[in-house]
């Protein structure tokens, strides 16, 4: 099977879908690989490395798209690009299937099997393909570091001849994959770390990283079988905001990670709370690009509001593009490998496979994912 | 003084001493120690010897002789088995 990997188009995107090591593995498994020239430069992988791995470098992007039996990439394609693909080809990338209805329809109509990386189920066995997790984990690290370089203070405590510098406090709202890594990173740097999450099961996990869990009694909350948080009632939302207020005022860094995949993120930090913060404090809004947890955050930008810096850059893992590429590439490889038939040397989409069941959106000219199908029709 | 007094003291002291001797024994030594002290309990051989050799009566002699044989098994076997166990233990300890 011919695997094609086009360059990413989004501006500033430095990550790459497949790194040379994984390209080599795929080739060893029997695949042929064509990449667009200059594919890995953003993460420091030269074309030569891909050639060494056995891939062919092609300057013509359209050719890459048109030839491929499998297309591997990070961002969703344009409608245009879908038109260039072979019917029956497999396209794997982020798709944002809850919102990109026209894209899904285009896939269906073109007969392309579209796999959405967001829809990989969150079972223990599928973790190795779970790009949301792998990238969120890096995001947690990046967000803390970005906050740190913006903060006019240091995180750790220091007792020095020139007086004692008190430790900074970091407050992490949402202790999912990104939140936990943020807790770990801030803790490493010596900050006092406090965290909150609506799922009370994570309190133990926060403590297992040396963080303090902020106790706010919201009454009954819960999580889906995939571990996602359920939405709060309006009453609960109010309780939460009230309960966080004091902690936010006392914190030097606030990081919100309640992205809530598939839903609009809740507002967790209001303008009012921002006014209550110390000048120079920093807020990182992980969800800025999809609507934001923080009032006044601007997607893709860092702004200063009332003396408080609000970082809403987004695409966090792109800051550590090389490692992010390695992880994403590994996720893709594992996914292809899951469907790989070693005898025929091709990827087969077996709708009995519980992992593929979850993430294949269109297949054989149909929308096969129930949730998306219901949403679109 | 009477024998009984001495006996009482000796018994008392021996029992206390027996209690005190065994303090904290690693689990690996439980079986060897059991086996080793079992060999000591073969001391009854000494009694058997007197019974077998004193020629008090035929029955006593027969009983004594059987007792000697039995006790000797206990003593010889006990010490040898213990030694084998401990030899193995040593080797393992020495190997690392």
């Amino acid at each position: 099977m011919l695997i094609g990997i086009p360059k990413e188009l989004a501006s500033g995107e430095n990550r790459v879908a497949i790194i040379p090591t994984d390209a080599k593995k795929l080739i060893r498994a029997g695949a042929t690989i064509q990449i667009e020239a200059g594919l890995g430069l953003g993460s420091g992988f030269s074309d030569a490395e891909y050639t060494d791995a056995g891939a062919t470098v092609i300057a013509d992007r359209n050719a890459v798209l048109a030839n491929a039996d499998i297309i591997l990439r990070i961002s969703k394609p344009t409608l245009d690009e879908i038109g260039q693909m072979k019917s029956g080809c497999i396209h794997i990338s982020y798709l944002d299937p809850f919102n990109e209805h026209s894209l899904i329809k285009a896939f269906r109509d073109r007969g392309v099997s579209a796999i959405s990386m967001e829809m990989i189920p969150r079972s223990t066995r599928s973790q190795k393909m779970d790009a949301l997790s792998s990238q969120a984990s890096l995001a947690g690290y990046v967000m803390v570091l970005l906050a740190t370089t913006r903060l006019p203070r240091i995180l750790p405590m220091m007792m020095t001849p020139a007086g004692t510098l008190k430790p900074s406090t970091a407050f992490i709202i949402g202790a999912g994959v990104a939140g936990l890594q943020a807790i770990a990173t801030a803790k490493r740097l010596g900050a006092k770390v406090v965290a909150f999450d609506t799922r009370s099961v994570v309190a133990e996990q926060v403590r297992s990283l040396g963080g303090k869990f902020l106790d706010i009694d919201l009454g009954e909350t819960g999580q889906t079988k995939d571990g996602y948080a359920l939405a709060l009632t309006e009453e609960q939302m109010k309780l939460q905001l009230e309960g966080q207020k004091k902690q936010i005022a006392e914190s030097d860094i606030v990081i919100t990670t309640a992205q809530l995949f598939g839903r609009k993120p809740p507002v967790l930090v209001t303008s009012d709370m921002i006014k209550g913060m110390k000048p120079g404090s920093v807020i990182v809004d992980m969800a800025a690009e999809s609507g934001g947890n923080v009032e006044g955050s601007v997607a893709g930008k860092t702004v200063v509001v009332d003396g408080v810096t609000i970082i809403g850059d987004g695409n966090w893992s792109n800051f550590v593009s090389r490692d992010a590429s390695q992880m994403y590439s590994s996720n893709l490889f594992n996914l292809v490998d899951e469907g790989w038939n070693g005898d025929d040397k091709k990827m087969v989409i077996d709708m009995e496979n519980d992992i593929l069941q979850g993430c294949v959106i269109t297949h054989g000219g149909e929308i096969v994912n129930e949730t998306i199908k219901n949403l679109i029709n | 003084m009477e024998n009984a007094v001495f006996l009482a003291f000796i018994l008392m002291l021996s029992i206390f001493l027996g209690f005190e001797l065994i303090n904290k024994v690693p689990a690996t030594l439980h079986t060897p120690l059991m086996s080793g002290s079992n060999a000591i309990s073969g001391i009854t051989l000494v009694g058997a010897l007197t019974s077998a050799g004193a020629e008090h009566s035929t029955l006593a002699t027969i009983l004594g002789t059987v007792a000697v044989a039995m006790a000797t098994i206990n003593v010889i076997g006990g010490y040898m088995v213990t030694d084998r166990m401990l030899a193995m233990f040593k080797k393992k300890g020495g190997a690392k």
Binding site: R125, Q127, S137, Q181, A184, S208, L209 | A4, L7, I10, S14, G18, F19, L21, I22, N23, K24, A27, H30, T31, L33, M34, G36, S37, N38, A39, I40, S41, G42, I43, T44, L45, V46, G47, A48, L49, T50, S51, A52, G53, E55, H56, L63, G64, T65, V66, A67, V68, T72, I73, N74, V75, I76, G77, V81, D83, M85, F89, G93, K96
Partner: protein, 458 residues
């Protein structure tokens, strides 16, 4: 009188050697030498006894010694290492029967039928008999000649009580009677004591036999002691009492190592009749272990792999883990960590914690690097991990984690699992690892448990 004094002073020396021998047997470094010391004591005691002027005829002695010695030596040399405990049971039984015979023979050596002497005679016969038959049952159970299961029947308790009453009555009658009646009561005491030994041991399960043997060993010491009083031989008294007392302590130590009480060991069989005992069965195979026993294994291990999981994080045990690692290394062992990619609750969870404890990166191995050489590890220590070492992922199709690669700790020679209970982990499924032959559970908070093991490295 000169000779008698000499003999007795030699007995003092023998007793001293026994004392040193027992003491030395209690510590690994000196145990083997201790056994030799005690054997030397025995040798001295036997030799000087032969000097005793009351011994007139050596031919029977010679016969007994040759036959017994040959059998003992042969058996001791032949026995498989795995058969050791049953061999001890057998030897112990022979010791018991010897005491029984010595006591019996003393009957015919009595100058005056002193009640005190009669009491000691009956005691030596009684204890010797119980030791003998009890040891034989224990031997049978261990060598699987008798079912290793606890054999129980209704009314057993009542029967035993009646038996004990009968023994007491015949013993009392024996000491009071004279003439031919003596023999009858004598035979009654012998027979009943043999029966008692059997009754006491059959309701105990095979797994508890070591404790029973240790207890019977203590009895055989007491039997020798009683025989000693009967024939007025002081070395029998002292050595017997020493063994009797130290045997009791050893028995108690062994019970403690099994986390049981002695009475629980001896009498749990009875209660098994009433409790149906099926629910207990499933868990029954998971074997618990104390930190101290874990230490003895670790102390002898040359290579150890540590597998941390979420429980290490919860217990915040990373610093203690590092300490154990250093101790093991100082002890000459190779130590590595096997990190499963999904251990913990976030990617890199274990890395964060182990870096905090300053564990060198070079020691952290990926699952794939460790699994192929898992057989070479003497011990795998699983610290608060569960799903990531669950062999069900390999073995049990249909399990929710079937197909996920796990760290195959069950292939290591010994597996120690530290967790607080038999509870399941994140995936909520049972873990067959806990029931494997080579697995031992160290129940408790990981940090405390590790602390206890570290303490044992004195």
């Amino acid at each position: 009188m000169g000779i008698e004094l000499l003999v007795n002073m030699a007995y003092v020396v023998a007793a001293v050697l026994f004392i040193f021998g027992l003491k030395m047997l209690g510590s690994p470094a000196t145990a083997r030498k201790g056994n030799l010391v005690s054997a030397l004591g025995m040798f001295i005691a036997v030799i000087v006894t032969l000097l005793d002027q009351s011994i007139i005829d050596f031919k029977w002695i010679l016969a007994g010694v040759v036959v017994g010695g040959a059998i003992g030596a042969l058996v001791a040399r032949r026995v498989e290492m795995t058969g050791m405990p049953e061999m001890v049971a057998l030897f112990n039984g022979f010791g018991g029967v010897a005491s029984l015979f010595v006591g019996w023979a003393a009957l015919y050596d009595m100058h005056d039928a002193h009640t005190f002497v009669l009491i000691t005679i009956v005691l030596s016969i009684l204890i010797g008999g119980v030791t003998f038959s009890g040891s034989m049952v224990a031997w049978g159970k261990l060598s699987e000649r008798i079912s290793g299961k606890a054999i129980v029947f209704g009314g057993q308790r009542v029967f035993n009580i009646l038996l004990i009453i009968a023994i007491i009555v015949s013993a009392v009658m024996f000491t009071l009677s004279t003439g031919p009646a003596t023999s009858i009561y004598l035979y009654l005491v012998i027979g009943l004591s043999l029966l008692l030994g059997i009754m006491l041991v059959i309701p105990i399960g095979g797994a508890d036999m070591p404790v029973v043997i240790s207890l019977l060993n203590s009895y055989s010491g007491l039997a020798a002691c009683a025989a000693g009083i009967a024939i007025n031989n002081i070395i029998l008294i002292v050595a017997g009492a020493l063994v009797g007392a130290s045997g009791i302590i050893l028995t108690q130590i062994m019970c403690k190592a099994m986390n049981r009480s002695l009475s629980n060991v001896l009498f749990s069989g009875f209660s098994a009749v009433s409790a149906s005992g099926t629910a207990a069965k499933i868990e029954g195979e998971a074997k618990a272990m104390t930190a101290e026993d874990a230490y003895y294994v670790l102390e002898a291990a040359a290579s150890v792999v540590i597998v941390p999981g979420y429980g290490m994080a919860v217990a915040q045990a990373q610093h203690v883990v590092k300490e154990l690692q250093e101790l093991l290394e100082k002890n000459g062992a190779e130590v590595v960590y096997a990190i499963h990619p999904v251990a913990g609750r976030m990617p890199g969870h274990m890395n964060v914690l182990l870096a905090e404890a300053d564990v060198s990166y070079d020691l952290l191995l990926e699952m794939d690097a460790v699994n192929p050489r898992m057989e070479t590890f003497d011990v795998a220590i699983v610290i608060g991990a569960n799903d990531v070492v669950n062999p069900a992922a390999r073995e049990m199709e249909g399990s929710p984690i079937y197909g996920m690669p796990v760290i195959n700790v069950d292939m290591a020679r010994n597996v120690f699992v530290m967790k607080r209970s038999m509870a399941s982990g994140f995936a909520g499924i049972d873990n067959p690892l806990f029931f494997k032959e080579n697995t031992r559970m160290l129940f408790g908070d990981a940090k405390e448990m590790l602390g206890n093991i570290i303490k044992a490295f004195s």
